[in-house]
């Protein structure tokens, strides 16, 4: 059921929630967290739909904070809060309150949200778009244990990654990082199957998709080898190619759903790697609410060190000078397909000295 409240306050909203629960006959509910969605009117519907789907796995109170644009000085002068309270079938599992903020109250959204948080339960804030530069310092972000942003929606994702790295506070996370979990687990599984040392990596995917950078940084940070970021037409990530001491390992996904894993000396294998929708990403994000140290380490590795094999290979600083010289030749020999030869700076260093 739905209750509309115009020009209201948080305490009236709280009353409406109790009233709504009574009316549908389920006064006790086992919600495990409060999810605050901060968004604009345009993205509100899709974001809430994803959150509702995710709430099947994580029953939650969803507070949608919509900051309305005021078009006239009169609007701006008058602060107003409208709310739409949804319980029961309209609210996924749990409860939903859509809060529409007008005028001055926009700058004091936390005063509206604070009284509506579930007692004791964790709070997650999610900005589907327009995330603040420093989420932990944001007035709504301060209320939360977990702050979810999405660099994929940014105007310039790569720069945004750098900004996120600078502002990182434990509890920050990025849906672009969540997107690559299946890739990461598959690449890790591929390395489980062989006993070889990786010497260099190339991560290939569409331009302006920060997931590619994050995957590349994770690999570079964990493997301590040069990792190059290649560009392809997409969709999303398209390939990870690893040069190893026992031949190349490739994970190729051309169509966004079924990938092929090729390991030297083993037959090609099909691997399901479907691109997941936002609801699944949010559901994964809510599964653990402790700081994601692996994300932090990967993010802090630094986008600028990608592709720059010399400095990326911390353990082998000797590469620093030779990388530029040998870069183009090395790229030519390791990646034959056209997509990656159109790649950004070809700076993969020479392979480890052949035995």
């Amino acid at each position: 059921m739905k209750i509309d409240l115009t020009d209201t306050t948080s305490s009236k909203i709280n009353k409406a929630l109790v009233q709504g629960r009574r009316a549908i006959g389920t006064p006790a509910i086992g919600m495990v967290l409060t999810l605050v969605l901060v968004t604009d009117e345009e993205n509100q519907y899709d974001a809430l739909k994803a959150a509702n789907d995710a709430s099947r796995e994580h029953p939650s109170r969803k507070l949608v904070v919509v900051k309305r644009v005021s078009r006239s000085p009169r609007d701006r002068a008058k602060a107003r809060l409208d709310a739409e309270v949804r319980v029961g079938a309209d609210a996924g599992t749990g409860e939903t309150v859509v809060l529409r903020l007008y005028g001055d109250v926009i700058d004091h959204a936390q005063s509206v949200v604070l009284p509506l948080l579930l007692p004791d339960a964790p709070v997650v804030v999610w900005w589907p778009v327009n995330a603040p530069v420093n989420p932990a310092k944001d007035s709504l972000g301060k209320l939360a244990q977990r702050r979810v942003t999405d660099t994929y929606s940014a105007e310039n994702p790569v720069e945004e990654l750098t900004a996120r790295a600078d502002a990182y506070t434990p509890g920050d996370t990025d849906l672009s990082w969540t997107r690559i979990t299946p890739w990461r687990s598959m690449v890790a599984a591929a390395l489980d199957q062989v006993d070889c040392k990786v010497t260099s990596v190339e991560v290939e995917g569409e331009q302006h998709n920060p997931s590619c950078e994050l995957l590349a940084m994770w690999l570079a940070n964990r493997l301590r080898v040069p990792v190059r970021r290649g560009v392809s037409a997409g969709p999303g990530l398209t390939a990870v190619r690893m040069e190893t001491s026992c031949g190349p390992i490739k994970l190729d996904r051309a169509d966004g759903s079924l990938a092929t894993l090729s390991i030297q000396g083993q037959p090609d294998r099909a691997v399901a790697l479907k691109r997941r929708d936002t609801a699944e990403l949010i559901a994964e994000e809510l599964r653990r609410l402790d700081p994601d140290d692996t994300y932090a380490a990967s993010l802090r590795f630094g986008v600028h060190r990608l592709g720059d094999g010399g400095r990326a290979a911390l353990s082998a600083p000797a590469y620093a000078t030779s990388s530029l010289a040998s870069g183009s030749a090395a790229t030519g020999e390791s990646s034959g397909d056209s997509a990656s030869s159109a790649a950004t700076p070809a700076t993969m260093p020479k392979k480890a000295s052949p035995k």
């Binding site: 964990r222 390991i263 692996t294």
Partner: protein
């Protein structure tokens, strides 16, 4: 797990998003055309693949008498998955799985078939990179176990080569008494080392059962009162609303106690009553469970504290049901129990004097499995008698299935001017606080087999101890009387109610 795992620089304990993916491996199912395989095992394999938990190249070999080609087998799996899988069907996941599907046709005494199986495994090692790691799932009646494991041994299929593993997975019943269980264990252990034998008790794969450990040992709220000073008694119930269905051949002569109490209920008892393990690794858990099962004491007078019954005709949930003795394929003079209730005590400092009542039955009121810890009454009540007339005993109920969750029952004042205290329930439902669909028990268990994680599998000592508890009861029943009759659709024979009434207690209606 293979040795390469530790060396993989991409694996990091702090990286908790990465799931535990099984290493390169395959699963061989004997009796693949059976019900269990179609309804549980195949869908579980698909669901695991769909959740990205199976390694690339995971292979599934079916072994059965049916004259199938690989394609027929794949189609059978496809249909089973479509019908029974928990997660939605996705073509790309299916494409990944189907590459590693093979079928080997044969019967268990057919040497050629096992040579063929061996060749298939070798071929998969090459084609799919399974690395020689195979688990053999014996989804066949126990009388075939010896034959199958001997064949596996004879054809070198059970040989563990350097860096790879071969495992055996067996389903209950693990024998029908202590002697047969020991015999069975001997047969299996002759071929597979004991740490490579996985006994499936699918109850232990259920989220709620694993939650017993979390509830008890991750909280401070319950453990202080989890003892004889506060607990009055414990009731463990597993009720089914169905009859024996088409399983007359299997069920007659076995009965409810052997079928359910020996494994499921005694495992639940062990988890409820055991001391805190030093850690959650398999050895520590098994040590505590073995200890508590070893401390179980039977009542002196088995006649007064055990009851067995047979369902008679009646109405169950709006349908007319025939009695057990009228079921097709059942000897009208059969003494097999379809209902069994026993009182056990645990002889240790924590539980001395606290009875554990275990009951199970077919054609009972509804399908439910639960553990109810019933607490003692408050030693003194400042309220007068009329105020607390409707107050029962506090209880903590762990609902194992269906509607998984935990209920706490306690007294609360009824709103109004007079003081009146009545029982109320506080409810935690899994489906409400966590996921809409928790993984099926078989998913978890198959994954654990592939990972070599034996936490959730009863060990040989536990199985033997359980038989030691049950055997004297079965012997007593063999010699004395016959099963009481109870009307289908009710909560068991009156004798069971009388059994608790003698102790001044009564059964919960679950």
């Amino acid at each position: 797990m293979t040795a390469t795992h530790g060396a993989n620089p991409l694996r990091d304990a702090a990286d908790r998003r990465l799931p535990r993916i099984a290493g390169p491996s395959g699963l061989v199912i004997f009796g693949v055309t059976g019900d269990l395989s179609r309804k549980k095992l195949m869908p579980a394999v698909y669901d695991l693949a769909n959740r990205g938990l199976l390694p690339p190249g995971f292979s599934l070999i079916g072994f059965a008498r049916r004259e199938w080609q690989d394609e027929d087998f794949a189609k059978e799996v496809h249909d089973a998955v479509k019908e029974h899988a928990r997660t939605p069907f996705r073509e790309e996941v299916w494409q990944q799985l189907v590459q590693g599907m093979r079928f080997v046709q044969g019967v268990f005494d057919d040497d050629d078939a096992f040579e063929n199986l061996k060749a298939t495994i070798a071929e998969l090692d090459k084609a799919q990179g399974t690395g020689g790691n195979f688990a053999f799932y014996l989804s066949v009646p126990p009388k075939f176990f010896p034959q199958v494991v001997q064949q596996l041994k004879k054809h070198g299929l059970a040989d563990q080569k350097e860096g790879s593993w071969r495992r055996a997975v067996i389903e209950k019943p693990f024998g029908h008494d202590l002697d047969s269980a020991i015999e069975l264990n001997k047969v299996v252990h002759e071929v597979f080392p004991s740490n490579e034998v996985f006994r499936i008790d699918h109850y232990l794969g259920k989220e709620t059962v694993q939650n017993i450990l979390a509830l008890r040992f991750a909280n401070t709220l319950f453990e202080p009162i989890w003892n004889r000073s506060y607990v009055d008694h414990v009731q463990i119930t597993m009720a089914e609303d169905i009859g024996i269905g088409g399983r007359a051949g299997y069920y007659d002569g076995i009965g409810a106690a052997r079928d359910v109490i020996q494994n499921h209920l005694l495992q639940l008892l062990a988890l409820t009553a055991m001391e805190e393990p030093a850690s959650f690794d398999a050895d520590a858990l098994a040590a505590e469970k073995t200890k508590v099962l070893g401390a179980v004491k039977l009542p002196r007078d088995l006649g007064a504290h055990t009851v067995r019954g047979q369902y008679a005709e009646g109405w169950q949930g709006g349908e007319q049901a025939v009695g057990y003795l009228q079921e097709e394929g059942i000897d009208p003079r059969s003494k097999t129990d379809t209902y069994a209730a026993v009182k056990l005590e645990i002889d240790n400092r924590r539980w001395a004097g606290v009875p554990f009542y275990l009951r199970t039955g077919k054609r009972l009121g509804r399908r439910v499995t639960e553990i109810a810890v019933v607490f003692q009454r408050a030693p003194h009540s400042p309220f007068d008698h009329t105020a607390t007339e409707e107050l029962g005993q506090n209880a903590l109920v762990i609902r194992v299935q269906p509607d998984e969750g935990v209920t706490m029952r306690f007294g609360s004042k009824v709103p109004g001017t007079s003081m009146e205290v009545r029982d109320v329930s506080m409810d935690f439902a899994y489906g409400e606080s966590f996921t809409e669909s928790s993984p099926e028990a078989y998913e978890r268990l198959i994954l654990d087999v592939l990972l070599g994680d034996s936490n959730l599998f009863p060990r040989v000592e536990e199985v033997e101890l359980s038989w030691k508890i049950l055997d004297p009861i079965e012997h007593y029943w063999d010699k004395h009387g016959k099963p009481a009759q109870y009307e289908s659709g009710t909560w068991g024979p009156v004798e069971a109610d009388e059994m608790l009434a003698r102790d001044g207690r009564s059964w919960r209606r679950p």
